[in-house]
């Protein structure tokens, strides 16, 4: 029985039937809710409870003040400003994870003594602040051993998709002419959300381009918008936008996120807010939940790998992020991150790759992707950047109801032969042009390589050579080789690495150099 609610931090939660709920009535039964929320409450015995929705659509961090009190916040930076964390010491394991993946997965953060509340788990501190005890309230379902027919599963998926999109539409008119805003890349995931929303409400779609000199997907997003009768807005992202917004975007993200799409996402949310929208739908979640293309290299790695080689699968999972794992020895002085830290990071991957709840390797990978990339990277990114612009991001394909269903689908219907997201495509085939359904995944490529050789070169050099290179543990010769295009290798991936390190430098400046 809850007597005293201390703080309802963020709530976009709802009951299974889609009705909006008063979270206070459901604190003892969070597992029965869908939607996105972060809550903290105190019970009559003085214990403090912290919880986050099962997918991690809302963030929640906790740490201790010098006197041992538990502090919590949705933003890591705010928590540090309130005095949490052990002298704001950088956590070397968190730093290693960030350099390897561009985010910090799991409960660890970049600051020692500050942790993320894990999704779907209630943390309980007693009245003296001891703890936390952990009480999982929503576990990802394991694959059923008996499958329904493909046709029935397709029907079930379609029905859940329709209900989820319906439930996540804003109540009442939102933008001009009652239209709901949706980001649209032209890929299958954002397109299907737009198509299903357009059957219920007028839709205003927003896409991104980087100017005519760079490749984009505007051709496809325009096709979908036309097909769905949506009004379509294309937001142009220029290098000068990066210069003027980079620090503010990193600051808004709370924890650093090294994805080059952060600033483009920020501009897109700003455009939605400017048009008077409060809610922006997106297609995040299709890849992690329904068998996206990033699983393919790991399947091949399992196939060709030697089962006797220690940590081969774990190493492949980390390397599949295509960030700085292979460059660590060149980037860092030997003392900064030791072999023990690397083994520790590899060991964090092991339970996910071996989780006995899922007999299928693909399902185990997907469960890891939902927990790591979803809760640690994609969802916090859209959450915080939307909040920066005063709008609410909603991700139907990452909704708990759809995630649950995704894990009940047999793996061969997620990836069939070489077709990615097979059942998802089949479930919405009638709603989109064939060209959209059949096109291979290409992703939104931010032209960071060209930018850092051209208009953003001086910015990158100033930040990395005058900034990061002077911080303890970072090697200047590597940074110079990276900036001067002297990195060797088959795929140096200079652009994404520079972006990731610029993000780190900006975050360190904001948190450590000017903490006020």
């Amino acid at each position: 029985m809850v007597e005293r609610l201390v703080r309802l931090i963020e709530s976009d939660g709802c009951a299974r039937d889609g009705t909006t709920v008063n979270m206070v009535d459901h604190l003892g039964d969070l597992g029965g809710l869908d939607g996105a929320y972060a809550v903290a409450w105190e019970e009559t015995d003085g214990s403090l409870h912290l919880a986050r929705d099962p997918v991690g659509a809302r963030s929640l961090y906790w740490g201790r003040a010098n006197d041992g009190r538990v502090l919590y916040s949705t933003r890591l930076i705010d928590l540090l400003r309130a005095g949490a964390g052990h002298s704001r010491e950088l956590d070397s394991g968190g730093l290693l994870a960030f350099l390897t993946t561009a985010y910090v997965p799991g409960e660890r953060t970049l600051v020692r003594g500050v942790s993320a509340v894990p999704p779907g788990v209630e943390l309980i501190f007693d009245r003296d602040g001891r703890g936390p005890l952990r009480r999982p309230f929503a576990l990802m379902p394991a694959s059923p051993s008996i499958y329904e027919s493909e046709a029935r599963l397709r029907e079930r998926l379609r029905c859940t998709l329709e209900q989820t999109v319906e439930r996540l539409l804003p109540h009442g008119p939102d933008g001009p002419d009652g239209a709901v805003a949706a980001s649209l890349s032209g890929g299958i995931d954002s397109s299907l959300v737009v198509a299903l929303a357009a059957r219920r409400r007028p839709v205003h779609t927003l896409s991104i381009t980087f100017g005519p000199e760079h490749r984009d997907e505007v051709e496809f997003s325009a096709l979908v918008a036309r097909h769905c009768g949506a009004t379509h807005e294309v937001v142009v992202v220029r290098p000068e936008d990066i210069l003027t917004r980079f620090d503010a975007t990193v600051g808004a993200l709370s924890e650093p996120n090294g994805d080059p799409l952060t600033v483009p996402n920020d501009l897109l949310f700003e455009a939605a807010a400017r048009s008077g929208h409060r809610v922006v739908l997106n297609g995040e979640g299709g890849d992690p939940c329904f068998g996206g293309p990033k699983n393919a290299p790991l399947l091949l790695s399992e196939l060709y790998g030697d089962p006797d080689e220690p940590f081969a699968g774990e190493r492949a999972y980390l390397r599949s992020h295509q960030k700085l794992w292979d460059d660590l020895d060149h980037l860092l002085e030997p003392g900064l991150i030791g072999e023990a830290e690397r083994l520790s990071l590899l060991s964090i991957v092991t339970p996910g790759l071996c989780d006995p709840r899922w007999p299928s390797f693909l399902d185990r990978l997907m469960a890891m992707n939902v927990a790591w990339k979803g809760a640690g990277h994609i969802l916090p990114k859209v959450e915080h950047l939307a909040a920066k612009n005063g709008v609410l991001a909603r991700s139907p394909l990452f909704d708990w109801a759809l995630v649950r269903l995704a894990f009940e689908l047999p793996p061969e219907l997620k990836r069939s032969g070489s077709i990615e997201k097979y059942l998802l495509k089949e479930a919405i085939r009638d709603t989109l042009p064939e060209r959209i359904i059949e096109r291979p995944k290409s992703g939104m490529m931010v032209p960071v390589e060209a930018w850092f050789q051209g208009p953003l070169r001086a910015f990158a050099r100033e930040r990395l050579l005058d900034g990061l290179a002077h911080r303890p543990g970072f090697r200047r010769p590597y940074l110079e080789a990276l900036l001067d295009k002297r990195l060797t290798g088959l795929r140096p991936r200079r652009g994404v690495k520079i972006w990731l390190l610029l993000t780190l430098e900006s975050w360190l400046r904001q948190v450590y150099d000017s903490p006020s």
Partner: protein, 368 residues
């Protein structure tokens, strides 16, 4: 001689014990006693073949790199040094006899021109001149002094353990976008060691069952994608040059299917441009193989291995062939046009690869 570890210039007297007087590191070679390389030259070859430590390479690739350097230095000494020296004798005599500097200079220039003309008109000789046995003797000396080169691919002793049955059964439901067929296991090992499969969603195998631990599963997976793109990477040999057509026609592989098979291997036309990278070895090229008479004649006497190409160049060329096939199919071009081989190989070809910039761009993880 310079020490490859500390760069100290050690005089012969200082290094008689076979160690560097400054860093005490052991020298692998001593040119004064007949070794064909210095330690620095060997290290330079290792840096070149591994692209400064970024690419893994096979022993054959190192052998080729060193043999090529050895033949270059030998041939340039023989072909240029002596003719030049001998060619300058008559102008010198003319100068001494006439005491005319202008006449001497004119005769010297004429002599130099004749030497260069002779070089241009003389056909380069075929065949690498440094045997594998001799190379391996020198390689052992290097390993004794410096240890195994870090990027050298060492084939495992005995086959790897196959994936557990449960996993293998699951994998057979899936497939990949592309497959690279090689004509020899060494090329498969080279591509796998450099994560080519991982980077390109691509199977890598030989048609006759390599690698054995993965082959049965890979073969089943190949059948799951009717739109599979197949690339064939091979040496310039009679068997290699006919592998693509055999795969295309064999009912056991892709005969009767719509799968595209693109030959991106070495052919006689490539080998003819790089005679000093070829081996002189008789082989039999069947008249029914589909090869032209000119190619059969060439392959009957010479062969060129993929190992003659710089490893980085070989992989990037394959990347590029795949990118170009992808763009051909996305623009609706006829996919069969690549079947005769669209990749222009050459050991000294340029190293700029257009596909690289694209792979460096970022953000594909998100934005729905």
């Amino acid at each position: 001689m310079k020490c490859s570890r500390c760069e100290h210039e050690a005089k012969y007297a200082e290094r008689r014990g076979g160690t560097c007087p400054k860093c005490q590191g052991k020298f692998a070679f001593e040119p004064r006693t007949g070794d064909p390389f210095t330690d620095v030259q060997w290290q330079n070859a290792l840096d070149w073949v591994s692209s400064d430590g970024a690419v893994r390479f096979t022993l054959s690739q190192l052998h080729h790199a060193l043999a090529h350097r050895r033949s270059l230095s030998t041939s340039s000494r023989v072909a240029l040094f002596w003719p030049l020296v001998v060619g300058q004798v008559p102008p010198l005599l003319l100068f001494l006899a006439t005491e005319s500097a202008a006449l001497g200079a004119w005769a010297s220039a004429l002599s130099l021109g004749l030497v260069l003309l002779f070089r241009a008109l003389t056909k380069p000789s075929f065949g690498l001149k440094w045997s594998r046995e001799d190379f391996e003797k020198e390689q052992k000396k290097w390993v004794n002094a410096h240890g195994k080169p870090p990027m050298l691919i060492v084939p495992k002793k005995g086959p790897a353990r196959p994936a557990p049955t449960k996993l293998a059964d699951e994998l057979t439901s899936y497939s990949f976008d592309r497959a690279v067929f090689c004509d020899r296991p060494e090329t498969v090992d080279f591509l796998l060691a450099n994560d080519f499969h991982f980077e390109n969603n691509c199977a890598v195998l030989t048609a006759d069952g390599y690698p054995p631990h993965a082959f049965p599963t890979v073969r089943k997976m190949l059948t799951q994608n009717p739109r599979l793109e197949v690339f064939v990477l091979h040496d310039a040999t009679p068997l290699g040059c006919t592998l693509a057509s055999r795969l295309r026609e064999s009912p056991g592989w892709f005969g009767g299917s719509v799968v595209t098979v693109t030959d991106v291997g070495l052919r006689p036309v490539h080998a003819m441009k790089a005679p000093s990278s070829c081996w002189d070895e008789p082989d039999y090229a069947d008249a029914q193989s589909g090869l032209s008479k000119k190619d059969r004649d060439f392959l009957g006497k010479h062969r060129m291995e993929l190992a003659a190409l710089r490893p980085e160049q070989l992989i990037k060329r394959l990347f590029r062939a795949m990118s170009s096939a992808k763009s051909d199919s996305s623009t609706g071009a006829d996919p069969t046009t690549g079947s005769t081989g669209g990749t222009d190989f050459g050991p000294d070809g340029d190293d700029s690869f257009g596909a690289d910039a694209e792979s460096s761009d970022g953000g594909a993880d998100s934005f729905g």
